[in-house]
């Protein structure tokens, strides 16, 4: 439980078909804003993605649009204070909500030849409908998760802490099953 965090992602499940790792901790910010976003974009140093599911990066900051007025921001640990204070400066001109939710979720890194197939085990929607470089919030095995597609068969999945063991259990089973089929 309290073992020290390693600098390399920890492997949680692995087979010949696919591998699931626990990503290194990062800082996460939930942003809600509407109206003219220009002052906020200047404070963040990136242009916020304009369509649901699109992603943008600016420096070390990575943003995914989750809803019409909602974004999830990922950034390295220790840089949160600076972002929060620079955005607090534009609060007067553009009221918004920027909340540190770093402690809320863990990220699973899913990669391997059959990563997309592994996701189909828990997802109602087609994982192929998420283009490379995009992301979506969706339902995985009854749990709301955020999926980031980084490459053709490399995904990240943000899961709330309390649901992580449940989701991981299905991913572990899926890893074994896909490898058994491949023989």
């Amino acid at each position: 439980m309290n073992k020290p965090m390693s600098s390399e992602p920890e492997v949680l499940a692995e087979s010949a078909a696919v591998r699931v790792r626990l990503a290194k901790p990062c800082a996460r910010l939930s942003l809600r804003a509407r109206g003219d976003l220009a002052p906020l974009e200047a404070a963040l140093g990136l242009s916020l993605p304009g369509k649901i599911g699109e992603r943008c990066t600016g420096g070390e900051l990575e943003a995914l649009r989750l809803g019409p007025d909602e974004w999830m921001l990922h950034l390295p640990e220790g840089t949160v204070e600076g972002v929060l204070s620079s955005c607090a400066g534009v609060y007067e001109t553009l009221p918004h909500s920027l909340v540190d939710v770093s402690g809320r979720e863990v990220t699973f890194q899913i990669d391997g030849a059959r990563a997309t197939e592994l996701l189909t085990l828990g997802m109602a929607r087609d994982p192929e409908s998420i283009a490379v470089g995009e992301g979506r919030r969706t339902n995985f095995d009854g749990v709301t998760v955020t999926i980031w597609r980084d490459a053709d068969s490399a995904y990240r999945m943000d899961v709330w802490h309390s649901f992580a063991p449940h989701v991981l259990h299905l991913l572990e089973t899926g890893c074994r099953e896909l490898a058994a089929e491949a023989v």
């Binding site: 649901i52 599911g53 989750l66 809803g67 019409p68 909602e70 109602a124 929607r125 409908s129 979506r136 919030r137 969706t138 339902n139 709301t144």
Partner: protein, 100 residues
Amino acid sequence: MLLITCPYCEETLPEAEFAYAGQAHVIRPENPSGQSDEQWEEFLFIRENPKGPHFERWRHLHGCGRFFNAVRDTVSDKFLTTYRAGAPRPDLASLGGDAK
């Protein structure tokens, strides 16, 4: 499984991502204290139960999280259209399909 088009995500997605949220276009009275008991009863409890097109609210719960409105035919279970919350009722005649 039903396929529902979210007017905010502009994608057609499985029903499992959505939650039903009752009849649409039920408007809360502007002056609640001026309402009679019968009017309150009407607002709180009396709902339509049509055989045919039904205006209803849905929420893209496991997605963008937004409430929106839909017209679903209760006979065929087909969605005739979906539209953003706050938009006026679409004209049934223009929707075609099984709409009457």
